[in-house]
Symmetry: C2
Subunit: 569 residues, 2 copies
């Protein structure tokens, strides 16, 4: 998208000088200047997708009267996983655009864990279907840990190759901070491969000397800060803080309140959604709602907008977006209520977008079948032999994705399951047909007379099934295989509802109207089937396999104690 041709450059210069017609002039706007924090009345002249001039302009093929509304730069979502929306990039893009986001920085970490470089290229190939710009961070931790079996491995050489591809700008979140602090050579090789590129971090709670070590290794960003003090320490260490407000992890209120209270410089702060459901993005947006919330918390509006625009652009070294100024991409948003960030109109590349437009459904593409299961029968779900007198129990925590560790004597298991206190949880390796299966006991989930299955199971995205009877768990696995991945509920041997995710078992190309209905129906039936209202039935399930979040998890290799980094016999 760079200005690389003299012809375009000359047209911009001539438009700026008023010598030739602009493609578009937006007149009578209150233009936010993010370089100076000023709001300036004037017109913006657009040429060939770029802002040519800001001032007084009349010569134009098309003129839009802003009627005194605010014109701000297009929003930039500094870190997101498109996969978390379960929608295809095309529909994801439509939901973001609706609320003024014109650029996202995407880390296709889930796609990469299933399909490696091919998964990342799926996103790169989708860029043409997206209405917004998408810059890709090459997923750094594939697999996320050594304690699970992922669909692919991306080593330093593979990452170096990906970093050469157009659209890839840096290295995705380096979650393995222990690996960095231990100076694991594989990890340091990855950092060296990405030298000169922006490298995302992921270091929840890291402070003090460990944070210094992490920063010294060359990490540039982090989106995991929960507390203000944590965010402040990261900024002090030169690590940009991407304030995350996702569907589950919500850190904005805490961090912004601290910024307001302590009046901290915000150059190194931007907004991101990390993981956010499509329906929520569609309803409230990502960066837009963050700006609104931040202003409501007392942040100076101009500062909040800069965090959602210029700051993100500078952090990611994207030099021609994030501001309304000559030579910048004409990505702009017309806002009626400045403090509420009410989006009236979105301009992408200088063209007014129909923000209610949904891309037309296309013929479903060839399924990318990545569900490759071993033979499954009831014996698959047998608990392992109890070696230490007690079975470990994974306990869900209301409203959170952390878990707690419990235990139960073998002789009490049957009754606990029958009474509905516990159910079984299984993780079946689904990429390479290794036959790896982890089986454990789960408390707090609540499924009765059935089984829930998902091929979205962070980060390796094996098949995860929770159920209170082996027969329904077998049926669930069979059905997952048939639909090439997705979410579903089986009860009494019948598939009650399902949401197929045939794109790598993670995403659907169906239009939102369709998959949202299926999702809603499934959720309703899951709660009916006894799943606790304290948790999100599918989201909680999908995180139960993630061996980096405390306290206890299940992978295809067994029950894992996160705090001691050891499997539990």
């Amino acid at each position: 998208m760079r200005i690389s041709k003299n012809e375009v450059r000359a047209k911009l210069i001539k438009t700026a000088l008023g010598q030739i017609e602009a493609d578009l002039v937006i007149k009578n706007a209150q233009i936010l200047n993010v370089f100076t924090d000023e709001i300036i009345s004037g017109d913006v002249a657009v040429q060939s997708g770029w802002v040519a001039g800001v001032g007084v302009y009349t010569k134009a093929k098309k003129t839009i009267d802003a009627g005194g509304m605010y014109l701000v730069p297009g929003f930039i979502n500094a870190h997101c996983h498109v996969e978390s929306s379960i929608s295809s990039p095309k529909y994801y893009s439509a939901a973001e655009l609706r609320h003024g986001v014109t650029t996202i920085i995407a880390d296709p970490h889930e796609l990469a864990n299933v399909a490696g470089a091919e998964g990342i290229r799926y996103l790169l190939n989708s860029l043409k279907d997206m209405q917004i710009d998408c810059y890709v961070q090459a997923a750094s931790c594939v697999p996320a840990t050594a304690y699970e079996t992922s669909g692919a491995v991306l080593d330093a050489d593979a990452l170096a190759k990906l970093l050469q591809e157009p659209g890839v700008i840096g290295l995705g979140e380096m979650m393995n901070y222990k690996g960095i602090l231990d100076c694991d050579s594989d990890i340091l090789d990855k950092l060296s491969a990405a030298q000169g590129h922006i490298i995302d971090g992921h270091a929840p709670g890291l402070m003090g000397r460990e944070l210094s070590g992490y920063a010294a290794a060359g990490i540039h960003t982090d989106h995991e800060s929960v507390l203000f003090d944590e965010a402040l320490e990261k900024i002090r260490a030169g690590i940009a803080v991407l304030i995350r407000e996702g569907s589950t992890a919500k850190n904005l209120s805490e961090i912004v309140s601290g910024l307001v209270k302590h009046n901290i410089k915000t150059e190194l702060i931007a907004f991101c959604s990390d993981d956010k459901h499509w329906a929520e993005i569609y309803r409230e947006g990502t960066v837009r709602s963050n700006i609104q919330k931040a202003i409501a918390l007392g942040l100076k509006p101009e500062t909040a907008y800069a965090m959602g625009t210029l700051n993100a652009a500078r952090i990611y070294r994207l030099w021609d977006i994030g501001a309304i100024a000559p030579g910048y991409r004409a990505d702009m948003v017309l806002i009626s209520d400045f403090e509420k960030a009410t989006v009236e109109q979105v301009f992408k590349d200088g063209i007014a977008q129909d923000k209610e437009h949904m891309p037309p459904e296309q013929k479903q593409k060839t399924l990318k079948n990545t569900v490759n299961l071993p033979p499954i029968d009831v014996s698959t779900f047998a608990l392992p032999t109890c070696l230490n007198g007690e079975y470990p129990v994974i306990k869900t925590v209301a409203g959170q994705i952390i878990t707690q560790k419990g235990s139960i004597k073998p002789q009490d298991v049957s009754h606990a399951i029958e009474s509905g206190k516990l159910c079984k949880l299984a993780v079946i390796e689904r990429h390479k047909k290794t036959g790896n299966v982890g089986v454990a006991l789960l408390e707090g989930y609540g499924i009765r007379n059935g089984a829930v299955a998902s091929t979205m199971a962070h980060d390796s995205h094996n098949l995860i099934i929770a159920g209170d009877n082996d027969a329904d768990m077998v049926k669930a696995a069979e059905e997952i295989k048939r639909i090439h991945g997705g979410f579903l509920l089986v009860q009494g041997g019948e598939v009650r509802a399902s949401l197929p995710l045939p794109i790598y078992g993670l995403m659907t190309e169906s239009p939102p109207s369709e998959f949202l209905t299926a999702h809603e129906k499934l959720l309703g039936l899951l709660y009916e089937a006894g799943v606790s209202h304290d948790i999100d039935p599918l989201l909680t399930l999908s995180f139960l396999a993630l061996p980096v979040i405390p306290e206890i998890r299940l992978t295809d290799k067994g029950v894992f104690d996160v705090l001691s980094s050891k499997f539990i016999d």
Copy 2:
């Protein structure tokens, strides 16, 4: 200087964690954090030239107690011409280091105008002799204009090649703003060749639509703002403002006062010296004295320091300098009086420097003789035939480098010269022996019974001679040829004093003690010889040939009217 080896990275991480000894720990410092504008008490651990950790550190091969003094990042001079110091890069570096500058962005525009890419490579080859880091901007305007004969031409292809060389980071000041606004294809080719690099501007007084056009062309910086409103408009257009405080052009007071009054965001503002004499740099520094002046004008000290450090680094996309944080280069300055920016100790790459150290004199290198003159006699200095009834007169202006246009009838010339009101000015092409000579009349300079000569004559650096008699002007040219360029004064056929500048006729490799003495002696004699005390005899002379500064100039091609861009018959 990047961290590219796992071994170094691992050492940094281990030092940060306190697992291994730091090379140096600076204890008990008040550390300025430019990311947050905080001053934090603590220690800095240095490893292999990098900051490994900021916090509490004890394990060290060497410990320095800061005794509660302030520790700030090494200063960055965002734009300078080393040539203006007339010293070699080695001694220039020593003067800058003395006052805390650890990095300069240099535009070897003068060297390039004399010797093209070879001149730029002279600076690149000198980097090894410099104690500070120097990043080079490839001179964009060689020649500066079509109205003069320079020693070399750098076209878009030559610049593209230079931009591939290590140490070259962008395109030097694009002074030809008219060429940009006229969409000259040669100029646009140069901008395209530098796409993706930082491109310096030079646009004195440019505002409104013309400024939009200049910014839209892709210009990133400007150091020519004189008025606050002008600086503000440039920042609004996304052009970084490098506040200049040189030997003659002093813009800090005006711009900083405006910043203080209007409380403008300063991310896009840095400090530079542009052209500053060696003795002044040695006496007061560049960035250091700017910080002191800015604070005295009411700028928040933390903001002033950020302008002298982080802001410049970010503007020039230098990611590992400008802050004291893990993974940043250990370039630091110990300051006793924060508001006065009193430098007590300078650390470059983590090593305490002897700031009073002057590099030892080395055997004078082979002269780079670039003085290539045609045969010269008194006829060389004959005024051209008067075609319009009057001769144009170039009038100097007290304390400024602008000139004013006057005129005189041919019959009055002899008397005006005899009375000392006027003298002659000649510019003789000295690169290619073309035989081009421009001769004109000069008012306000004041030389009596003699001639002053200089091979530093912006920007083509031809031989410029001012004198009131042709015989001394001939002698001056002969002596310039003999010493291979420099400054000198001839009176009554005798060379009264000279300062040879054998490096391209611009610089000397002599130690400062030597060339400063020669310079002082020469200046004294020049004033004695009648040169007005309202001007700098050598500096004013050197600018009389620069056809981009209003109102009237002399090049080797004739008398030039800057405002109408035309030669005057």
